[in-house]
């Protein structure tokens, strides 16, 4: 699938479908909804205030449509950014639009579904547990789909020229072959995953006891996110004379060495850690800041930052391999 089709699907078709289905479902429910629904209270508790149903639907769908269109405008304005940042800005816009539209449409359906066939605000029920659990799952699925549709920045990295003469090098014999291999486990992420799992279990127990067994799966959804955190807690860095390969859990990147202009080593500061992707396009942070890191600089000015235990040696090694490619 080409990139234009991907953007069209992720930014236009996906949120449009979610919004369209919501609008169709809501219009089908129009005759079965009470004139007013509870704003405070309801679901077995005394109703303290109410909202008019029809304006809620109109305003809700208008706000969601407005957010969607705003996302489309931001997407087009992203082309004014520096070239390496365009893809990331569009990816973030697509992701935010898809997640927001799905979450808001789901919330609207959740509220209205509990009021179906009620004749007064007092008869409005509590939202069904299936809907409550299904909503975050749907948001996660749509978000993941939107992210996957954005894809990687179309590589097309230009072949780099001669590495700078002042780039630090590592002594290599003429016929010497090398492989840098590093596996790391990011302990803070492992602890975070354990924390998420614990919070999920506690939430399941608390929800189950206080709201009913049907709400326990909400906590389990939180516990499931622990698996995702755990998956990205491991990373691997491999460099040989062909390419630089990095993998954070299931996410893998590979850069042919011919596209690397040179490499430098420096500590990764908090600013870069937070914004490397947006500022430099290819920036990916593989280690919690601050830490020792290698920066690959490509011919188009974009960079890729990767955490490394011995960044000085690795940067020098990459420069030497690049130099040898050119002198060969």
């Amino acid at each position: 699938m080409n990139q234009v089709l991907r953007w069209l699907t992720g930014l236009v078709l996906l949120p449009g479908a979610v919004l369209g289905v919501t609008a169709v479902v809501v219009s089908g429910w129009a005759g079965r909804l009470p004139e007013r629904i509870p704003n405070k209270g309801g679901g077995g508790r005394p109703v303290l205030s109410t909202l008019a149903t029809e304006p809620l639907i109109t305003v809700g769908l208008t706000v969601i449509t407005g957010l969607w269109l705003l996302g489309v405008v931001v997407f087009f304005l992203a082309r004014l950014l520096p070239a390496p940042a365009v893809h990331w800005a569009r990816t973030v816009t697509q992701l935010v639009v898809a997640v927001l539209v799905t979450a808001l449409c789901g919330a609207l359906l959740l509220v209205l579904a509990s009021a179906l066939d009620a004749r007064s605000p007092e008869e409005v029920r509590t939202p069904s547990a299936l809907f409550t659990v299904g909503l975050p799952v749907a948001v996660l699925v749509v978000g993941a789909f939107a992210f996957a549709l954005a894809g990687r920045r179309s590589s097309g990295l230009p072949v780099a020229g001669v590495p700078p003469a002042d780039a630090v090098r590592f002594p290599l014999a003429k016929g010497e072959r090398v492989l840098w291999s590093e596996h790391r486990v990011l302990r803070p992420l492992v602890w975070a995953a354990a924390g998420q799992a614990l919070i999920g279990v506690v939430m399941a127990v608390v929800f189950g006891l206080s709201l009913g067994a049907g709400y326990a799966p909400v906590g389990l959804v939180v516990a499931l996110t622990a698996a995702m955190t755990l998956a990205v807690s491991r990373y691997r860095l491999v460099v040989d004379e062909h390419a630089v390969r990095v993998a954070t859990g299931p996410f893998r990147r590979e850069f042919p060495l011919t596209t690397v202009e040179h490499a430098t080593s420096s500590p990764l500061d908090a600013g870069d850690w937070l914004a490397a992707g947006v500022l430099y396009g290819y920036g990916t942070v593989m280690t919690p800041a601050p830490g020792s890191a290698v920066r690959l600089v490509f011919a188009d000015g974009s960079r890729f930052t990767v955490g490394c235990e011995d960044a000085d040696t690795l940067a020098a090694l990459i420069n030497s391999l690049r130099h040898r490619q050119h002198t060969a």
């Binding site: 014999a173 072959r177 090398v178 492989l179 590093e182 491999v238 090694l317």
Partner: protein, 117 residues
């Protein structure tokens, strides 16, 4: 960790690979629990036969430094601190002997370089 092999060296390629792992253990670049790269990847990157890598891994396993597990590859099981301590002791002994017979540090280093060549 860094693997480097030189095909023009008189040292067998498998021994060079095993030496890289030993050096990484001595310098604490590798620690117990860490995995070594898969033999196929190492062989491909270094341009050597996979059996050469497997022979090097088998030698390290026989020394009790790594464990070869089906499906998990080669995992470091020993930090090998004894090797470093032994080497440091040997160097101290060499320095003491050199002082006794009136040799300077440069001469000793030159001798070591000759031994390495």
């Amino acid at each position: 960790m860094l693997f480097r092999v030189d095909s023009s060296s008189s040292t067998p390629l498998g021994d060079q690979i095993a030496a890289c792992v030993r050096n990484a253990l001595i310098s604490a670049t590798l620690s117990p629990g860490e995995r070594l790269p898969p033999a196929r990847e190492l062989a491909s990157s270094l341009g050597v036969n996979m059996h050469t890598v497997l022979r090097a891994y088998a030698a390290l396993r026989d020394e009790g430094l790594i464990e070869l597990r089906r499906g998990r590859g080669a995992v470091v099981i020993s930090a090998a601190p004894d090797e470093r301590a032994r080497l440091a002791d040997a160097v101290r002994e060499v320095a003491a002997t050199a002082r006794r017979i009136g040799m300077g540090a440069d001469e000793v280093v030159a001798l070591i370089r000759e031994a390495f060549a």
